[in-house]
């Protein structure tokens, strides 16, 4: 069992506090989405976990040890930070060979991860000739090189084509299903909702939420039901009579809040109102996230006058 433990982690660059007393745990066996706007401190936190930056205070450990104390760390932790890290004049294969040598990873793994990331055909081409998506795949190949139990990826979907995005989704879900610890940062809501089980959300370096994805959405967004009838008048009367919070659209359909499709369907059927369309609309991660950040903005807003 290898978790990432961040405890009271703070990092200041001069007067700016990039990470502010952050505490959370990333557990194995699930994909944890690391969300927040640009500049929220996601990348800084990842660098602190990898021992690349020195924290101002607090600790970040992997499996209970500081990253720098891990012998041959690529065998325990794989990370993608910058897709531009590979030298443009070197081939992908040579790039991976050097990294493998440094951690005594068998050279067979180099070909295995090239195959796994779909780069086998272009492995002997110089990285400078690669598209952004291919470099991103190479960065993911580096992360997978040591067959690590812990995987950290900073914005892995950047530059990937739709096919690549589907690929990385199933790759990460597979890694989590193997029991590995997977932390994936993103500022893309739909992407994160599609692949994460759990969320850690940052805003201005502070922890805003640490919660399962579905719970987060359920707690923040009321489900809605969209309903349309051939007898718009009867439908409107019925909704009004039962005190539903409903809005009528131009096309004659209604959006009914604070109810479920099952309940509304029964009501319409009992009242004999003909139904053309009845659809539950689940809350999205995006709505939940915006609700959270709106609340956060209100909470942190300073009064303009004293």
């Amino acid at each position: 069992m290898t978790s990432i433990d961040v405890r009271d982690l703070t990092k200041e660059y001069g007067a700016r506090r990039a990470v502010d007393h952050l505490t959370f745990t990333v557990r194995p066996g699930r994909v944890t989405g690391f969300l927040g706007p640009n500049g929220a401190g996601k990348s800084t936190t990842m660098r602190l976990v990898l021992g690349l930056d020195r924290p101002t205070s607090g600790t970040a450990t992997v499996g209970g040890r500081a990253y720098a104390e891990l012998p041959e760390p690529l065998r325990r932790v794989g990370a993608l930070l910058d897709a531009g890290a590979a030298h443009g004049s070197r081939t992908a294969r040579d790039h991976l060979r050097a990294l493998a040598a440094s951690n005594r990873i068998p050279p067979t793994r180099v070909d295995a991860v090239l195959e796994q990331t779909g780069l086998a055909e272009v492995a002997r081409r110089r990285v400078g000739t690669y598209s952004l998506g291919m470099r991103q795949r190479l960065g993911i190949a580096v992360a997978l090189l040591g067959d690590p139990e812990v995987i950290l990826l900073d914005e892995p979907a950047n530059g990937l084509d739709p096919e690549g995005i589907v690929w990385i989704r199933s790759l990460l879900r597979g890694l989590a299903a193997d029991g590995r610890t997977v932390l994936v940062s993103s500022h893309l809501m739909n992407e994160t909702a599609a692949l994460a089980d759990h969320l850690v959300i940052l805003g201005r370096g502070r922890l805003l939420a640490d919660t399962p994805v579905q719970e987060f959405i359920d707690a923040r967004v009321q489900p809605e039901v969209r309903v349309r009838s051939s007898d718009a008048g009867a439908l409107g009367d019925l909704l009004a009579r039962h005190g539903h919070d409903a809005t009528r659209h131009e096309d004659g359909a209604w959006t009914v809040r604070h109810t479920r499709a099952e309940d509304l369907g029964r009501l319409l059927s009992e009242a004999g109102v003909p139904v053309l369309e009845l659809a539950a609309r689940e809350g999205t991660l995006e709505q939940a996230y915006l609700d959270l950040t709106a609340a956060e903005a209100e909470f942190t807003a300073q009064p303009q006058e004293v």
Binding site: L70, V77, L81, H87, L99, A101
Partner: protein, 238 residues
């Protein structure tokens, strides 16, 4: 974390960059070419048979400096250093491996350069050339001096975190300042790294430094640059 795998990785990195292989080839070619030119028209007023044969080292060392700077500078682009240090978190050990990976090929190429230059010099100069004993000292000294300059440049690049900055300091310095001050030939100038290191390439010398003490002074400069580089790499956020 053992040293040998890290060194192995750094040697792979050097071998797989064409610009680095190219600058090593340039060390041999430039040194031998300029030496042969100088030997073909030796300075009649101030004949120093050994330096006539090894005159090209002044130019070849620029390729050696480019080699050292480029090898380290490659780590300071596009987040490469983060990847390197994620693989090797022990930073002093990594930097030691990097320096060794620069020193080994630089020394091999430097000694080859010394041998080629000596043979070419003796062939062109004939009877006016250096004796074999002197020539051997020059060839070994040439290899050591080129290695030290490559390492000096590598250390400085780690401090400045940029190969361009390093080369724009060192190249004008070696080409201009050292030549100009060199002609005044006294005092502090004798202790500059390239001047001190090149005493070994002369048949006779009148400064305070001899061939080996000169190389030792050059080695001190190099050690200082490498320590400053290691300190910078260790202290700073990657």
């Amino acid at each position: 974390m053992p040293f040998i795998p890290v060194l192995h990785a750094e040697l792979i990195k050097i071998r797989t960059l064409r610009s680095l292989v190219g600058s090593l080839a340039a060390v041999v070619l430039v040194t031998a070419a300029f030496s042969a030119l100088a030997s073909a028209s030796p300075d009649r007023n101030d004949p120093d048979p050994l330096f006539s044969a090894f005159f090209g080292v002044s130019f070849g060392q620029i390729a050696a400096i480019a080699f050292g700077a480029t090898a380290v500078a490659a780590e300071f682009r596009g987040g490469a250093l983060r990847l390197t240090l994620a693989a090797t978190p022990d930073r002093p050990r990594w930097f030691a491996a990097k320096a060794t990976a620069i020193a080994l090929p630089a020394l091999a190429v430097g000694l080859l350069t010394g041998a080629v230059t000596l043979l070419a010099g003796k062939a062109v100069l004939g009877a006016e050339g250096p004796s074999w004993a002197q020539g051997l000292r020059g060839a070994v000294g040439c290899g050591l001096q080129l290695t030290l300059m490559a390492l000096f440049s590598a250390g400085l690049t780690a401090v400045l975190r940029s190969g361009v900055a390093t080369l724009s300091i060192l190249v004008p310095f070696l080409l201009i300042v050292s030549f100009v001050i060199g002609d005044m030939s006294s005092g502090i100038a004798d202790f500059l790294p390239d001047r001190a290191g090149q005493v070994v390439l002369h048949s006779t010398w009148d400064g305070p430094l001899g061939p080996w003490s000169g190389l030792a002074v050059c080695a001190l400069w190099t050690a200082a640059a490498l320590l400053a580089g290691a300190w910078t790499v260790t202290r700073r956020d990657a």
